[in-house]
């Protein structure tokens, strides 16, 4: 199994509070992703990173920000959590295009976030 951990695994928070989710990898992979999973929508890309300090928006980025100060960590922040951000959040990693195997994407165990 790829070395990907997410913390916390479960969190309950109140509307309006800031929340940060952490993804940590030990694979030294260049690309990292944050997805959210909601019933009827599958997984949708929030933000992704293609290198340290290189990030970009995905399909559903409103209300989220990310940071990547080192290869192994990718942080997702909800500046002011809303009930619509109640979801399961998955981090994923893949190697760079230069490796020829960037299509192999490995997922973390997920974080269940509830915003009350």
């Amino acid at each position: 199994d790829a070395g990907i951990t997410q913390s916390p695994r479960h969190k309950v928070t109140e509307t309006g509070t800031p929340v940060t989710l952490r993804c940590h990898q030990t694979e030294n992979h260049r690309y990292m992703y944050w997805y959210r999973q909601d019933p009827g929508h599958g997984l949708r890309l929030i933000h992704y990173s293609y290198g340290v300090k290189d990030t970009d928006k995905g399909e559903v980025s409103d209300g989220y920000s990310v940071s990547r100060s080192k290869t192994e960590d990718f942080l997702l922040t909800l500046e002011s959590a809303t009930s619509s951000q109640t979801s399961v959040y998955f981090c994923a990693i893949s190697d760079s295009a230069w490796s020829g195997r960037y299509y192999e994407q490995y997922f973390g165990p997920g974080t269940r976030l509830t915003v009350t």
Binding site: Y31, Y33, Y35, G40, H41, G42, L43, R44, L45, Y48, Y50, D56, G58, E59, V88, F90, A92, S94, A97, W98, G100, Y102, Y103, E104, Q105, F107, P109, G110
Partner: protein, 123 residues
Amino acid sequence: AQTVTQSQPEMSVQEAETVTLSCTYDTSENNYYLFWYKQPPSRQMILVIRQEAYKQQNATENRFSVNFQKAAKSFSLKISDSQLGDTAMYFCAFMKHGVKGAAGGTSYGKLTFGQGTILTVHP
């Protein structure tokens, strides 16, 4: 933008029988990858099978095979000899082919998922 559609919210099958899950997609790209992922109750995302669009031969992985129809933009998953452990949510997913070395050309491996199909295998 790409879209992926799974029109079967739920499916069920008897143990040892065969079941086919449907997926259609829409894209203007010519080079891409298609995937089926399995998500059991543990919530872990597990890659089941991958198909490169430039390959005419359908991918197979043990009891899992696909029927890839590029012109029809269809990508179905067939599970043969279904087992109780196959009970899970199955997601179809699309990825643009990355362009190595082209400035700004890489897809960075972003996945677009379908809505998922819940498969239940009955004993």
